[in-house]
Subunit: 327 residues, 2 copies
């Protein structure tokens, strides 16, 4: 059980979710003493004590191979063995990816799992899902097609969008834009009947809500995601500094406008969307932000619950099996 | 002479620059009647009338081949023929790139010219130069090395930075990060003695001023630049909306804090840096933003003047010739 504020926020979030959905059973992997310290009531909650820890600085694959009694490896094994249906973690993203691939395993016809967070958009509380944002530094056009299909099924099941608009992140909006990879991906996505492909999307439009799902290779997706996060963080920090460092009257003005600024803060808050899904694995695996709060934990459980209720992973599985037979 | 507010802002910016630097001679290519309408004094300014226009919607290479009497083609030819030393345009970026490559020509040892804008940073008025941000959808590691050398020389000459810090945009800060292209680029940059290579830079740190020059392939650079611009634009728009749409008291608060917000606006204003340079061509070629104002035009002239005074292009040329001889 990793994360900056674990286990307190995790335990509180889990208890909140347990109180909401009585048919979920939780198994918490981590330091039993620490978890018990925050646990008010163990109804539907089991603790499995683990005494090893995958650190943020660990080399992912090595950590998964050597730290057999870490919460991450134990949780992944339990999913592999069918003891649990899904897992989430606030810990090392690379290690979670490695645990997903090497312990839980990929959906057979999916070449590579993708990391898919939800980003805020200005015109809808549902946000936009972007994948892959960094699980794969190298990509092929066929991966992007697989991710588009899985992203589309996810948006239908978890966000209840009937025909999710799927966009391809590219360096221009015209259909002939891109390098070889993205031109090929455009072609493949255009010919994928099961998705509502709306064409190319440029990264200045990500937050404008022009698509429900944006497909991209992990290298570009990582750059676009981090540039978006970095710019928002720096701009809001500079704004705060400007309001606090300019004397009494500015502070007074800042106090007056504070309630209105909450709307912007709320727009950029995607905690209700849950965590970033590692799509393409045999079971739902979700990475919640290391700095996640109680709300995010609660909504991450809801997100996984929605995937399980809708059989989201199996739908993707069925699609790819059907594709394979037709080929 | 293209651009949203041309020729008025261009003519005004040129006159301002002419009044500042008496040893520059300007040749304006465009509609003579329209230019004359705004020109107060033609000292050191010649007008060459052109009656064709490269539009924003034109296919770049085709436009350059067919619109022989456009301001862009005429200006590029004049540089090629040595009548003028440099050119800048507010028009179609792709067409300017095509004119640069096919009319003015590349520095012999530079494989591809790169588009290099200046982005703001929080800790210096000099900003950060990023290249390539979209002239090349496909790149090789050797291109990134060439761009790093040229970016470094530019930062020394035009921004007076003694040992410019050169960073490589990558998907992590550790040296083993990246796809094959960026791992190769890391290796090449590490072994380039003439530059001060500081290692990998992630795109959430672009505006934090961790480097003076950031090298990237055109596809990723385009995504990072547009994500940065898009996020800043959307955030500032939402902020304005929040301050204006929430009644009298919020508006009053907004009026009080307005002077303090100017500091942020000033931070994000890079007009003093001039335009985006097409580095790698035989002469300085600069793309100023279509929506450039008089200040940007003035500083674009200064930027070109600095490159000419310092012989920036020839320094790059000399470096690459020396490299070739040593191989």
């Amino acid at each position: 059980m990793g994360g900056d504020n674990a286990p307190q926020v995790v335990v509180e979030g889990i208890e909140k979710a347990r109180n909401e959905w009585s048919d979920i059973e939780f198994v918490l992997y981590g330091d039993e003493t620490k978890i018990k310290k925050y646990l008010k009531d163990d109804k539907n909650i089991t603790i499995v004590h683990t005494d090893e820890e995958v650190l943020g600085t660990d080399e992912p694959v090595k950590a998964i191979r050597t730290k057999k009694n870490s919460s991450m490896v134990r949780a992944a094994k339990s999913v592999k063995d069918g003891e649990n249906d899904a897992m989430f973690s606030l810990g090392n993203t690379g290690a979670l990816l490695a645990a997903g691939i090497f312990i839980i395993g990929r959906i057979k016809q999916v070449d590579r799992p993708a990391l898919m967070p939800t980003l805020p958009v200005t015109n809808s509380p549902l946000g936009v899902n972007m994948l892959d944002v960094g699980a794969n530094a190298e990509a092929k056009a066929s991966y992007l097609q697989q991710w588009a299909v899985m992203g589309s099924i996810y948006a239908q099941d978890v966000k209840s969008i009937k025909e999710p608009r799927i966009g391809l992140l590219n360096n221009g909006s015209e259909e002939d834009k891109g390098d070889t990879l993205h031109k090929e991906a455009y072609e493949l996505l255009s010919n994928t009947e099961e998705i509502n492909f709306i064409g190319n999307v440029e990264s200045n439009d990500i937050l404008a809500g022009v698509a429900d799902v944006i497909v991209t290779d992990g290298f570009t997706g990582n750059a676009a995601l981090k540039a978006t996060e970095g710019t928002a963080t720096i701009l809001l920090k500079e704004l705060k500094k400007a309001l606090m460092d300019n004397g009494f009257f500015t502070k007074m003005g800042a106090a007056i406008i504070a309630p209105s600024l909450k709307g912007i803060k709320a727009m950029f808050d995607t905690s209700r969307a849950g965590g970033a899904v590692l799509l393409g694995l045999k079971s739902p695996v979700v990475k919640a932000h290391g700095a996640a709060n109680v709300e995010t934990i609660f909504y991450t459980v809801k997100q996984i619950y929605d995937m399980l209720l809708n059989d989201t992973i199996n739908k993707a599985n069925t699609y790819f099996e059907k594709m394979q037979k037709e080929q």
